[in-house]
Amino acid sequence: ADVTQYIPLPTYRVGAYASSGELWWAGERDYFRYINEVEGGIDGVKLNYEEFETEWSPDRTVEVYERVKAGKDGSPIAFFFTHGTPATYALLEKAAADKIPLIDPAGGRTESIDGRVFPYAFPLLFSYYSQASTGINYIASKVGGFEKLKGLKIATVYHDSAYGRATQPAVELLAKKYGFENIQIPVADPGNEQSPQWRQIHELKPDWVFLRTWGVSTVVGIKTAARFGFPADHIIGDVWAGSESDVIPAGKAAIGYSALAPYPGGADFEIHKRLKKFILDAGKSDLRDQKYFGAVNYNVGLVNAALAVEALRTGYKKFGARPLDGEEGRWAFEHLTIDENRLKEIGFVGLLQPIQITPLDHEGGGAARIQSWDGQKWVLQTDWIKADHEALRPLIEQQAAAYAKEHGITPRTPDTETN
């Protein structure tokens, strides 16, 4: 039989978040299938992925974690995708004790970027602080430089939840640094009626709005903005407010709306050509409706899958082509590097930013492109815009240190660790 690496996937194909989940796991599975069937696995190791429905409930993700953490069919698990910030939080300590890395790209716990305190947590790719910072950087570029930020009013309309508030410390810091006025306006879940919020916007007249909602609250937000005459092209949506399902239902109101895109939309990237040929046209895709091929959420799945595959590849180089366990998985992720060359090889140029993860930096990227909606599709506006890591790093370290103190953790000193 094949040598296999077991990859459990907590998913949410039903329930309130199904519309993103369905595409997301189609992308992820299509890529894994591509690796298995076209590339013959990773160095010959096949991926054995299995889904577990959680409806995005952290409790059920915990349950799945318990179920799979010992591995399956002789393969341990090298990492655990939580696919949800609350789930990451719920598992943080368990996973550290079990020595299983938690992978939560473009989410997770921001200060776990500091791998000295959080060896087993990876808020890969694009942490919440980077999201805030990239948004501000983009606004700066639009207004003609950072100096021009001074005196601007930037309002954040956010989903009133931990997710929605996760950027607040970063925005506050940047507001101080650049001198813009920081307005925060909460929208209570589910956010299907936002007149009071946008009437407030109407009164306060901010120059830009950073939209950090999710699900219906994005659609309703964009529509209500239009109703109150706030221009869509001065709204910047966050990662999770930037998929097709966020704008299509908003109709015309969404034209000109832009969003941060660590996972750009579109089916013209190299990898899509390969998938089209080997998976879609071969009738093996997990997509029910091919019109969603290249949708933002589908691409989320592709990118996340690619990150996992590249990390495993890194690990196999060091430990040999055999299933990795959690500790080896951590090593693999902590030494994951995907440079331009590698991007070209795997067909992800433009879709995935160059990544370099180290024990000190579990994020590894921290950039996004900006895409805007033209009424039919997302159009990419920029190349990768990087977050202001120098500004953010002290805040992150400070919070990580506080966590370490509270939990009695002595931070590792990875420099002296033998690899």
Partner: protein
């Protein structure tokens, strides 16, 4: 004059000794369980099952016994969890068991307060009070950083983990015994209560409150007691759910779906029975797993996963309906019937005879 004679058919009181034996066997099994079950079973199934059962017992006191419909079970669990967090964080000297009790008391006080409207509002209208609690606490514990100690994700987890009197309870076994002890103790207390005068007062109010008032049942006090005791238990269940099972929690762990789940447990298990809470909890914790397993076995990974999930959901719905239709008084009653001794037989009935 006339003499009334009773004729009883069908045995009552048979099998007492077998019941005792079964009891002992079950107790032995429960205590030694950690050494029989895998870690996965303990962590992911048994511990949450026990906690859900406890929550079911708590809600059953209020809804099943006292007849006050509540959709706020999640809220009271939430209060318990956040209170435990606050005690452990700010009063680290207070040992965990006492912190749990204190949190239960806090939750009980909150339940007491939100129970006040029940003195005027009845039936389905009463859900407004418990729903208000539900949404209010979701908002409160998210809004004010004090409650989650300023953690950026607004989640809570015990700073020092689970320790009681110097014993480390963080291992699966530790958590199992902590949960088991709390659940068993509180179940015992509840059992005593429902068989006491207070329990009778609750049931009287449930069955007919005007009549209850007239025969001297202190309605106001009994209702508020029901709210307080129920919330006390729910509060402890919430704390266990957060720290004994999940490890960390946020308001989402105690959202409206949790409230529905607990209500569902007592209805499917049997309103107004302590046993029912356990059966209902077993049903809701095991059924999704069973369906999951079944589908994996039947179809491997070959069918459209999204479709399968939806089918599962439909099946779950159908099973709920099937149970409700089949046995209105819940699993507790169904099982009793299956276990014989309850088949077609005449109820004790009267026959009147006249002496000559």
């Amino acid at each position: 004059m006339s003499e009334i004679e009773l004729r009883l058919t069908g045995g009552i009181g048979e099998g007492v000794s077998t019941r005792k034996l079964t009891g002992i066997a079950v107790a032995a099994l429960v205590v030694s369980l950690p050494f029989l079950a895998t870690e996965y079973w303990i962590n992911a199934i048994i511990v949450p099952f026990l906690i859900l059962s406890l929550a079911g017992v708590g809600l059953n006191l209020l809804t099943g016994y006292a007849g006050q419909l509540s959709l706020g079970a999640g809220a009271f669990m939430m209060v318990g969890a956040y209170a435990t967090f606050a005690f452990q964080l700010r009063l680290p000297e207070l040992p965990l068991p006492f912190a749990l009790i204190a949190s239960g008391i806090v939750a009980g006080a909150v339940g007491f307060a939100f129970g006040f409207p029940s003195t005027r509002i009845k039936g389905f209208y009463l859900i407004v009070s418990t729903l208000a609690a539900q949404f209010f606490f979701e908002w409160l514990f998210l809004k004010f950083p004090w409650f989650y100690n300023g953690d950026p994700s607004a989640t809570i987890s015990l700073p020092a983990g689970l320790w009681a009197f110097g014993i480390d309870l963080n291992s699966p076994h530790g958590r199992y015994y902590l949960t088991l002890a709390s659940v068993a103790l509180l179940t015992w207390l509840s059992y005593n209560l429902v068989r006491s005068q207070t329990g009778r007062n609750w049931m009287a109010i449930r069955d007919m409150d005007t009549a209850a008032a007239v025969i001297g049942v202190p309605i106001l006090r009994a209702k508020l007691q029901a709210f307080a005791v129920s919330s006390f238990i729910l509060g402890i269940a919430g704390a266990l759910w957060a720290f004994g099972y999940l490890g960390s929690a946020s308001v989402q762990s105690f959202g409206l779906t949790r409230s529905y789940q607990i209500l569902f447990i007592i209805i499917i298990g049997g309103m107004g029975t302590i046993r029912g809470a356990y059966l209902g909890a077993a049903f809701v914790s095991l059924l999704p797993l069973a369906l999951d397993w079944l589908f994996q076995q039947l179809l491997g990974g070959h069918a459209d996963a999204g479709l399968l999930q939806n089918i599962q959901k439909v099946i779950f719905g159908i099973l709920i309906l099937w149970f409700l239709i089949k046995e209105p008084e819940g699993l507790a009653r169904l099982l009793r019937r299956q276990s014989g001794n309850f088949n077609t037989r005449r109820f004790p009935r009267l026959k009147i005879r006249r002496q000559t």
